[in-house]
């Protein structure tokens, strides 16, 4: 599960940043990969679609969300938690 989730998120981030998936690592910061605020919103949409979950995120206060976007690894962890919570 973890590997699949991580792989899929790495693919989503790579596609959003228009880079090769091999250049995405868990310690990478989305902004450093070239993902701006619009890119974050689009990536979250892709994650919601891929995992059939609802991600709590308001673009007005990206720092206040419970969804930790500080690194690719934190996104993987947050998605795993949401999948566990929302799919039971």
């Amino acid at each position: 599960m973890t590997t699949d989730t991580r792989t899929r998120i790495h693919q989503i981030i790579a596609e959003q940043a228009m880079i090769d998936v091999s250049d995405v690592s868990d310690d990478a910061v989305p902004a450093d990969l070239g993902i701006d605020s619009m890119g974050v919103v689009e990536a979250i949409f892709a994650i919601e679609e891929a995992f059939d979950i609802q991600v709590p995120f308001n673009a007005n206060a990206p720092d206040k969300t419970a969804f930790d976007l500080s690194s690719v690894g934190s996104i993987v962890a947050a998605v795993e938690r949401l999948v566990a919570e929302q799919r039971g």
Binding site: V41, N58, A59, N60
Partner: protein, 402 residues
């Protein structure tokens, strides 16, 4: 160049079905935001809006009109009735050819689109009403005003998202000022509060689920509204000759483009629009007593707009009042500038500055006098009305008392 004045105003919005009711609500700091009453609201994540509630179209229009008037056209027609009645103008004969209508809208007949997409895609119907096209088209409202009031001069619709009304009013102003027309009906209309209209905004993740709190540290985003604001503009001489009651003078305007980002506003674009409007109106920054802010309640707008005002007005920024009435009537998108112009006229004519409602605590990045929660009496002789749209398209109007 000719002086241009406003001699009639009309509106329909969540705060009221006419101008007196709307201004009374603004004076009282009333918030028109509440639970949305629309089809399939349970499938929306955003379930609030500043809706024109308990609206019965059959109370205002007959069957034939309803077949042709989308909700946004209905709002425009109702607001125009009030504006034309107040102006006392009877357009006919030679004047008809010198009169036109320029309206702003963003979604046009979006309810009609939504209903008919639903019919063919969801319900599998293979036939739609024959008037779907003339009902949904973005120039329908302007067309019906032209027909209703015999406006035979230049008429068209402007679509610049959230700045549509200001672009429309600015264009109508320039037509009268330059002598292309003697009378222009102008403003904007929007009815986007339907399932598809809200769902699309939801996707952008900038919408609030609680309420609209512009310039407030606890802001959580924008809230959609709906309605129309319609005005009668005419040359000063024309208005004087016929003894019309002049509500305000449109003194100047400026349009700028950020040429930068499709959604993120630029401080420079906003600054150039405000300083351009001042220049066009031959006003000094110190002349401005009130700014009706774009003030959407999003972090991106409120911080950028506050910084732009501080930069354009310098030390005077601390002395002028600036409020966002979107906190009360919601963000009426293509109609918002027109509805907000009512607050500008109220400041000039009645000496009352509409507040920024729902405000809780200061945001250090919006450190201006934003008239929190309570309306204020003030002597104001010149005002600005800001509109900064997605697409980086900005339009600022400058009004003076006469």
């Amino acid at each position: 160049m000719r002086r241009v004045v406003i001699t009639g105003a009309g509106t329909v919005n969540a705060l009221g079905r006419d101008v007196p009711a709307t201004l009374a609500a603004m004076r009282g700091g009333v918030c028109g935001i509440g639970p949305l009453d629309i089809r399939d609201v349970d499938r929306l994540a955003i379930r609030i809006g500043a809706q024109v509630r308990d609206y019965d179209e059959s109370a205002h229009f007959n069957r034939q009109q309803i077949a042709l008037f989308d909700r946004y056209t209905q709002f425009a027609v109702l607001a125009a009735r009030e504006a034309l009645a107040q102006s006392g103008l009877e357009v006919s004969g030679d004047l008809a050819a010198r009169a036109g209508v320029i309206l702003g809208t963003s979604g046009g007949g979006l309810n009609t689109q939504d209903e008919n997409y639903r019919a063919v895609y969801e319900e599998g119907k293979n036939r739609v009403h024959p008037f779907v096209v003339p009902k949904l088209m973005n120039n329908a409202a302007a067309a019906h005003l032209s027909m209703e009031y015999d406006l035979r001069g230049p008429s068209f619709t402007v679509a610049t998202a959230c700045a549509s009304s200001n672009h429309a009013i600015g264009q109508a102003f320039q037509f009268v000022r330059a002598g292309l027309a003697d009378v222009m009906v102008t403003g904007g209309s929007e009815a986007m509060l339907c399932f598809g209209g809200v769902k699309a905004w939801e996707g952008l993740r900038v919408m609030s689920r609680d309420t609209c709190r512009p310039f407030c540290a606890t802001r959580s985003g924008m809230v959609q509204g709906e309605g129309a604001g319609i005005f009668v503009l005419e040359s000063y001489d024309h208005a004087r000759r016929r003894g019309a009651d002049i509500l305000a003078e449109v003194a100047g305007m400026a349009m700028t483009s950020d040429a930068a980002d499709i959604v993120m506003p630029s401080r420079q674009g906003a600054e150039r629009a405000m300083s351009g409007a001042l220049r066009d109106a031959r006003l000094n920054p110190e002349d401005i007593g009130y700014i009706n802010a774009h003030g959407t309640g999003t972090a991106a707008n409120d911080k950028t707009e506050s910084a732009a005002v501080a930069h354009v007005f310098g030390t005077h920024a601390d002395r002028l009042a600036m409020s966002s009435t979107k906190s009360m009537h919601g963000h009426c998108i293509g109609a918002t500038g027109a509805i907000e112009l009512l607050a500008c006229i109220m400041a000039l004519r009645d000496g009352v500055i509409a507040p920024t409602a729902n405000w809780q605590e200061p945001d250090p990045e919006c450190a201006l006098d934003i008239v929190p929660n309570v309306a204020r009496d003030a002597k104001v002789t010149a005002v600005l009305s800001n509109a900064f749209a997605f697409g980086g398209m900005n339009a600022v109007l400058a009004l003076k008392s006469v």
